[in-house]
Amino acid sequence: MRNLTLKTLAVAAAAAALAFGSGSLKAQPKGNGTSPIDRTDRSKSKQSLNLKGNPQPATATPLEKIPLDRIKLPPGFKAEIWSHGHAAARTMVMGSKGTMFMGTRVIGRVYAITDRGDKREVKVLLQGLTQPNGLAFRDGSLYVFAINRVLRYDNIEDNLDNPGEPVELTKAYDLPDTIHHNWKYVAFGPDGKMYVQVGANCNICEINPGVHGQIRRYNADGTGMEIVARGVRNTVGFDWHPVTKELWFTDNGRDWAGNDGPEDELNRVARGQEGANYGFPYCHANGIADPDSRRPNPCAGVVMPAALTGPHSAGLGIMFYTGNMFPQSYRNVAFIARHGSWNRENRFGYDVAVARTNGGRATIEPFMTGMLDSEKNEFHSRPSYVFQMADGSILVSDELHGATYRISYTAPATAAVTKKKR
């Protein structure tokens, strides 16, 4: 019975793949697709049976207990706490009047943070939503994407004490109601379209490629859907290169196939290649065939990543830097918040890395480190997203402590440099 079901699913998936092959921007068929049975064969992974998800508290860490002094940065950079007391902090978008909106997952809240000069005022703007991780702001309106709802709050910055009833866009966007890997990341692209992620709702399974494992784009009102990328397991962060305007996205690799891989990915959607296939579920990282979901030539026609970002590192937010505060060498460089591993015996990530891009390739180097104690195999932070402020400093949200860190740069005094040279 089960074999038959899986076969039917596979045939349906293959048919859908043919119908919506690489390069096609055609809209998907209606409906929410298949309910995949996860194919993870954990007994083959050889990983410890004790690996488990990392606990995420519902409370924020008191200011004096946030381990700021652990943070290590390159010379000239400095970290300070910008805001705190907003439990489970993740995504950040700023309104045109300067309100910072912050999305969360398990706690179901959206915060509004107002800068009062020397301190920040934190308000719970919305609560009781199902994982409202997807936020975008345009023309005075805050767009909130929860797993099961799409809402628009007009004129929000004038109504922070009483946001009122939102415009319901859920039906217009018609997103699948599956929940796993479907907390959203969304952003307006340079083309004015709303880009939305739809994850594969499993660890490893045959997805319906017409529905799951995609990045889509819509008109802001939810019409005109197009598929921008396919075969994407779970991206929850993307941004556009400031010069080429091409879309770059992080993607989280599968679990239970080994401690060291397949590694997570940084990908690019090259100009004119919208709709391309990034490999899930058959092909991972730099061309690794999946051990549980098999087909002949698993990597044929698959776009290889621009860079690998480490095993189980969980790259979430990515942001290209365009500010003037940091040294010139950081101009147009991408900052990636790596949330840190759970499906790995020796922990990895829990940092912010930079990706220096060159055409379709990128090199990854560390930037903000120190929150992973490799000796004790313990972590002290979960960096989630990165946001660039008007003055060119950047904010890093920390889901674990419910805080943001402001990273600023001061050039060494010229006199000191001259002295050294002498």
Partner: protein, 195 residues
């Protein structure tokens, strides 16, 4: 496929009754009074004797704290629970969690079916339940204790996960049980409760 259990209304009705009980009570009352209210349904000793109402005894404190937050904020939607916790401060929720986490768990008087227990045992390994809930099924951190939990509540919860009805939980559980039959879920519940 729509899924309705014959006893779906029970937690709802009990929740409403509990909410009605406490509606007249001021939110400024001490934690001890709240504990008494919790005990009316969840058992004074934290071991529930009511169908579909979970036992709280020796649940991990982290798990209980998280769930109390999710109820208070209306993220986890169980009739009556949000009302009962309205107005409680973060510290009050932590105090409630500490109280129930310290109590001794006792198995309910529901009959467990040996055939189902046996079948459940064969499902546990491939699903790696013990990775999170521990081999003893005592739970840890954000993962609940399943050992000595009520069978009917476990079945109810597993169905909620499978059918995308459980809000506020990590979606990993939905992924683990997606596509599983009612029989599989009953087997898992009977096995876990019997630990």
């Amino acid at each position: 496929m729509p899924y309705v259990t014959a006893d779906w209304w029970r937690p709802l009705a009990l929740g409403l009754a509990a909410a009605a009980l406490c509606a007249s009570v001021s939110s400024a009352q001490p934690v001890a009074e709240r504990i008494r209210q919790c005990g009316a349904c969840h058992g004074e000793d934290g071991n529930s004797r009511m169908p579909n109402i979970p036992s709280l005894a020796r649940q991990p404190e982290f798990y209980l704290t998280n769930q109390l937050f999710l109820f208070r904020e209306g993220v986890r939607d169980v009739a009556g629970m949000s009302e009962l916790l309205k107005g409680l401060k973060d510290d009050d929720l932590v105090a409630l969690a500490k109280h129930f986490a310290a109590l001794e768990p006792r198995a309910s008087d529901e009959p467990t079916d040996p055939a189902l227990v046996k079948r459940g045992a064969s499902l546990i390994e491939p699903l790696r339940c013990a990775s999170c809930h521990l081999p003893s099924f005592a739970g840890q951190d954000q993962m609940p204790r399943l050992a000595k939990q009520r069978v009917d509540y476990l079945i109810h919860s597993l169905k909620e996960f499978r059918d995308n009805k459980r809000t506020g939980a990590d979606t990993l559980m939905s992924n683990v049980v997606i596509g599983r039959s009612d029989d599989d879920l009953a087997a898992l519940a009977h096995y876990a409760a019997s630990r």
